[in-house]
């Protein structure tokens, strides 16, 4: 039995994700503990924190991409509009169609720009005007004018920044509700980074964005909410991540309640 998520999204709430006591494990190793956050709709939530604190791990749980890792499991609940994404009757493939993902390394398919965009809609058996959908998706990623004359060119031949925008266009072509971005600018130069950040501001009108970033300026410039992840080693040297503080971005960066947050955002560690 598969639950149709489409019906449940009609009852939209202002909270897209709510996690309840989520612990994430790889085999016996507890990678992240006690995640309790809410991700609000049509806003940008940023995950920041030092390396190995589990921010990407948590992000990947939101569209069940960690299912690809065999030793992965979690307990607790990740609620998407109140529905537990890890309930036994949830179809992970359906989840990923509504919750899109943009990766750290731009990963266009070795196909044409057009086919890259059309990939997702074709999977869904899209029957409408594909040309129009491709154009709208490319416009949505603010790259239509750059590529409208070379839709038959290979997506892999674009520059790094354009490849990443192509990946964003490809993700929004299936009209997801949420876009997860795992360090989307880590592999890009500063100018491409600014363009992606501008694009994120446009995207949040239509989508809910969750981004992981190593770049604190990026979090403070681009996000509305920020979760600061920290990491704690146990006596065996295993490092478990947890959320130190989660608040509006200006609070995290200007008047954080935790000392660790203060030290991290002022660049004293991490």
């Amino acid at each position: 039995m598969t639950t149709n998520l489409q019906t449940s999204t009609k009852t939209n709430t202002d909270v897209v994700f709510r996690t309840e006591n989520v612990n994430i494990y790889y085999g016996d190793f507890k990678a992240v503990r006690d995640v309790n956050i809410e991700v609000p709709r049509h806003a940008i939530t940023a995950f920041i924190g030092p390396s190995g604190c589990g921010k990407s791990t948590v992000l990947r749980c939101f569209n069940r991409l960690n299912d690809l890792i065999k030793s992965f499991h979690l307990d607790g609940k990740i609620l998407y509009h109140g529905q537990d994404l890890y309930a036994s009757d949830i179809d992970a493939v359906e989840v990923r169609r509504q919750i899109g993902m943009v990766f750290q390394q731009p990963n266009p398919f070795p196909k044409t720009i057009y086919d890259n965009i059309a990939f997702g809609p074709r999977l869904l058996g899209y029957k409408g005007d594909m040309d129009e959908l491709v154009e709208n998706s490319l416009r949505g990623a603010a790259m239509w004018d750059d590529v409208k004359d070379k839709l038959k060119a290979l997506g892999t031949d674009l520059s790094g920044g354009q490849q990443q925008r192509l990946c964003i266009a490809r993700a929004i072509a299936v009209q997801p509700e949420v876009l997860l971005m795992d360090e989307p600018c880590a592999a890009l130069d500063p100018i491409s980074t600014l363009k992606i950040e501008d694009l994120m501001q446009e995207l949040k009108e239509k989508y809910t964005l969750v981004i992981v970033t190593h770049n604190m300026q990026q979090a403070s410039r681009a996000s509305d909410f920020t979760a600061f992840f920290n990491v704690q080693a146990n006596e065996k040297g295993q490092r478990t991540g947890y959320i130190e503080e989660h608040d509006r971005t200006e609070v995290i960066f200007q008047s954080p309640k935790q000392k660790a947050t203060q030290e991290y955002v002022s660049g004293r560690f991490g």
Binding site: L65, V93, G100, P110, F119, L123
Partner: protein, 299 residues
């Protein structure tokens, strides 16, 4: 010996001109040794090509591919240069075609399982190990296997029996090269596809296979080229046939067996045909290799 005035401290006083030291002599001797070995390694290949080409070229003509083998003639006979081995060319394509029909689908599906669905599992490791064992089995054993499996049962030598023997021979190569090709597809493409809501079969069919297909085709071409020249597995499965044969269930001539049969006869015109057949086989392998390289370079 002159030294530039502006040289940094460590190299001060050192000459920029060449000096003959034991170090440079050793280096030159070793370079010479390496070059000699490389040339020596090429000699057998060049000699083989030279021999096969000079011996085989005299009989190369279109009639080779359209005519049947002639009866044995003495050298002064007017029909000494007549005849060809068109039936063996057809037979080679028939046996290799049957082998490909069997081994390619099995091989590719097996490698998809190994690389996409069972990677690093015990079963996959066991299959990989057995595949390697299979590729080390002498090809004559494949012939015995097909003989027992098909020739004995159908009471006839046939292209099908030879095809089965060659298929078993090709299978490990195809599985190995295809698995490598699939595994070398970057993981981030898998994630991109899965992240867009593709099921595992959609990911394999629409992303992984298209990205890996040039390398898979290259492996298949090389496997076919290798198999086309194999004699042992066809020797007593296809046997031989002096006439045109289009029935895959009847004894069939192949180039490799023709070379074997005719080279050991005392008849000069048959020996020349054997050389010509050897040249055709070598050319087929060469063309296949060039084709494979071309496909690799084109992507």
């Amino acid at each position: 010996m002159t030294s530039p005035e502006s040289s940094p401290a460590l190299s001060k006083g050192r000459s920029l001109t060449r000096t003959v030291s034991s170090k440079t002599i050793f280096s030159n001797v070793m370079t010479g040794l390496v070059v000699t070995c490389a040339i020596l390694a090429l000699i057998p290949l060049v000699a083989l090509l030279y021999y096969v080409i000079t011996k085989g070229i005299v009989r190369i003509s279109p009639q080779l591919f359209t005519q049947l083998p002639p009866p044995p003639f003495p050298r002064d006979h007017p029909q000494f240069n007549s005849g060809g081995f068109g039936n063996a060319v057809v037979g080679t394509f028939m046996t290799v075609g049957i082998a490909s029909l069997i081994s390619i689908p099995f091989g590719i599906l097996a490698s998809i399982y190994l690389s996409e669905f069972a990677r690093d599992t015990k079963l996959a490791n066991a299959i990989n190990f057995l595949t390697n064992v299979l590729s080390g089995v002498p090809s004559i054993v494949m012939g015995v296997f097909a003989y027992g499996l098909i020739v004995v049962k159908t009471r006839s030598y046939s292209a099908v029996a030879a095809g089965v023997a060659i298929a078993v021979l090709m299978l490990p190569t195809i599985v190995r090269t295809s698995t490598e090709a699939l595994e070398s597809v970057p993981n981030n493409l898998r994630q991109a596809s899965v992240g867009l809501g593709a099921s595992s079969y959609q990911t394999v069919l629409r992303v992984i296979l298209p990205a890996a297909i040039p390398a898979i085709i290259t492996g298949i071409i090389l496997a076919i080229a290798r198999a086309a020249g194999e004699t042992a597995p066809v020797l007593f499965t296809a046997l031989f046939n002096n006439f045109w044969n289009w029935d895959p269930w009847r004894p069939t001539a192949t180039l490799a067996v023709l070379v074997y049969n005719y080279a050991i006869t005392p008849f000069a015109n048959w020996q020349e045909l054997a050389w010509a057949a050897a040249l055709v086989l070598v050319t087929m392998v060469l063309v296949a290799n060039i084709l494979a390289r071309w496909i690799v370079r084109r992507r």
